[in-house]
């Protein structure tokens, strides 16, 4: 318990940041028209591909002879990159439609 308190006190600003980010996440989404639900989901999915950064970090720090980590990292980068590129591209395709409608 004491540990938790200490952790809280030491990382106070980080905790402020997290809570504010959560509120911001809520705030930013509320009142989105139904039509945009799918593109929004898709866009959020692309952003969650930010996990690729972890894969890059893993890879950069891996021992060049440690083939286990290297292959794991390699797969992770591929998967993450599919999520990122595919995510943004598919969102853009969906939104292209909306643009057309405006005319």
């Amino acid at each position: 318990m004491e540990n938790t308190f200490e952790f809280f006190n030491e990382n106070l600003i980080l905790i402020y940041l997290l809570i504010f980010t959560i509120i911001l996440g809520f705030e930013v989404i509320s009142k989105v028209p139904t039509v945009l639900h799918t593109p929004l989901m898709s866009g959020a999915n692309a952003i969650s591909g930010v996990v690729i950064i972890g894969a890059i970090l893993l890879m950069r720090q891996a021992d060049p002879d440690d083939y286990t980590t290297l292959s794991l990292g390699f797969v992770a980068i591929i998967l993450g990159m599919i999520n990122v590129i595919g995510g943004f591209a598919v969102t853009d395709r969906m939104l292209e439609m909306f643009k057309k409608k405006k005319k």
Partner: protein
Amino acid sequence: MLTFAINLSYLLGAVLFVVGLRMLGSPDTARKGNILAGLGMMLAIIATAVEPLDNSSNNYSWIIAGMGVGGVIGFISAKKIQMTAMPQMVSIFNGLGGACAVILAFSESLPYYTADTVLNGGQLVIILSTLLIGGVSFTGSILAFAKLEGLVRDEKITLPYHNIFNLVLLGIAIVLGALIFMQGADGSLMLVLIFTALSLLYGFSFVAPIGGADMPVVISLLNSFTGLSAAAAGIIYDNQLMLVGGILVGASGTILTVLMCNAMNRSLINVLVGGFGGSSSGSTAAGSGDLVAREVSLNDASIQLNYSQSVMFVPGYGLAVAQAQKAIKEVDDILEANGVDVKYAIHPVAGRMPGHMNVLLAEADVPYPKLLDLEDANAALPNTDIVVIVGANDVVNPAAETDPGSPIYGMPVLKVWEAKHVIVLKRSMKPGYAGIENPLFFHEKTRMLFGDAKDSLQKLITELKNQ
């Protein structure tokens, strides 16, 4: 100085994520928002690639190769995919993100057991959480994909008492996680592997009992899980952007999930413990025994349409299945040329994903002002001569208003029976997604035109042209 530039890029990336997400929420700015978020991601990736690290061997060739392969696969699948299959695509992409987090967490746990890295309790908790959340997101998304593609039938994979089974499974995983934590450095990699396997199994089992058509909601939920797993991985790597970006997606994904449920007039819990797809209700079935649905001939239908003042199309899931969006637009064009006023009534949950109909009709270049939302459409219906229902069913079911025993009771529907005539295009008398009968088909104003939607529409076009 370099550190400053790196940190600034990350910060900018985070701000771009927030702004991008914000802009994605309104039709005028959505596309720009997506591009901005993508820019933020690019910035972040570059910053990560050049960031100075202690004893890094970099392995840039591996990284570039991986990014190349992943990028090409992602780009091509995104471009090749059909409009109507996009939710599936998003689901796979999301699952891969979850898988990525699982691999990261697993790799980071290796040194504790294979090398003699000192184990840090806090880190271990984070690693286990990432494994669990990422794992659920991975297999859950894959199953959601399979269900949407029709590869898996709901009944085949649902056990009796499935929800209890799920709770037990989750309980076991958590207990195992606690065990791994308490054993600390004495633990074995085997246990971690079992924990990972359990997480993957749980993800699968979590999605299994949920009705196939609820998948868009599930995908949104799993998306917020991927965000959370990315945030957890951000703690492992002490990277603020991963943390902030992940939390942002986690929070907004959760809200989006709730909004989607609201649009279907259901609660999230209701969706999660099994939709109405499985349980068939007998409440309205009785009434239909002695009633007969009346058919209309193609010729009659085309004449009626041509001599009406106003026509309202009601597109539904069947339109998407039959890929009839271009055909409907062609009918529209012919009628408009003959002076008929044509509109489309778009129910918020018509089809199988939010905005499904809008996307389809936009693909066929139907102008935006012709699409009426639920309220406007209901206001216009009493003055409409003919309603043409194209593969819709639940969204025009009067039982939602009149029969308190119906599973969709309370959902707002399009009151097509208030128009003068109704023509229904579908293949059979089979029910739609909710699995219930539709009294509308036996209504005195209603005539059925059986057959595949695209087929029927194309025949109508020929008839109309011959007049």
